[in-house]
């Protein structure tokens, strides 16, 4: 199913959805490999505040303020690219969506959260 796609318009800043349909971050940047030896390809998706450094002035400022760790998701983990990027595995297995996991511990403390 080879299909042409523009990395900036079609992949960057798109929503990541894990195998269970859970939203788990955005494509904050893409890591390239093989640029020097003429066979370039996308090696991984970069997710997290420190990936914003390459995203303009506001991005650098936000990256410094948010200080979040960055998660690297190998491109092989991507099952499909539509309006959103569908991943092959669960967010927890790819160390994604940890912000939601941390916040859940607070929210669960309030009765009726389930």
């Amino acid at each position: 199913m080879s299909k042409e796609i523009d990395l900036g318009l079609g992949v960057l800043d798109h929503q990541l959805v894990d195998s269970e349909g859970r939203r788990c971050g955005k494509v904050d940047d893409l890591e390239l490999e093989g640029v020097a030896d003429g066979r370039p390809a996308v090696a991984a998706i970069l997710v997290g505040a420190s990936a914003w450094r390459g995203r303009g002035v506001l991005g650098r400022l936000a990256a410094r303020l948010a200080r979040g760790r960055m998660t690297r998701v190998p491109w092989q983990e991507v099952a499909d690219v539509e309006a959103t990027l569908k991943l092959r595995r669960k967010a927890s297995e790819l160390r994604l969506g940890r912000g939601d996991d941390r916040a859940r511990r607070i929210v669960e403390w309030i009765p009726g959260a389930r």
Partner: protein, 89 residues
Amino acid sequence: MRVTDLLGVPVRTESGESLGHVHDIRGELGARSLRVTGLVVGRLGLLERLGLGAPRTPLRVRTRDVLPWSQVVRADRCGVVVRSQAKGD
């Protein structure tokens, strides 16, 4: 290197002629790969820049207006250099 390192950088031929800037990077989506096949370069209309490009596909412009990666001699944060007769057509 990251995609955002290439987006927006100037593109010149080996003889120094400017071809504009990198607006986007054209890729080909395989089963488990996303290979880079070319660069969307040059003077794009406002609509293409905002994503109203080639109909029916998430592409900024038709493939024939894209600079094949094979023409690229060097690409880094400062700019992209391509072979001299490498105009997109």
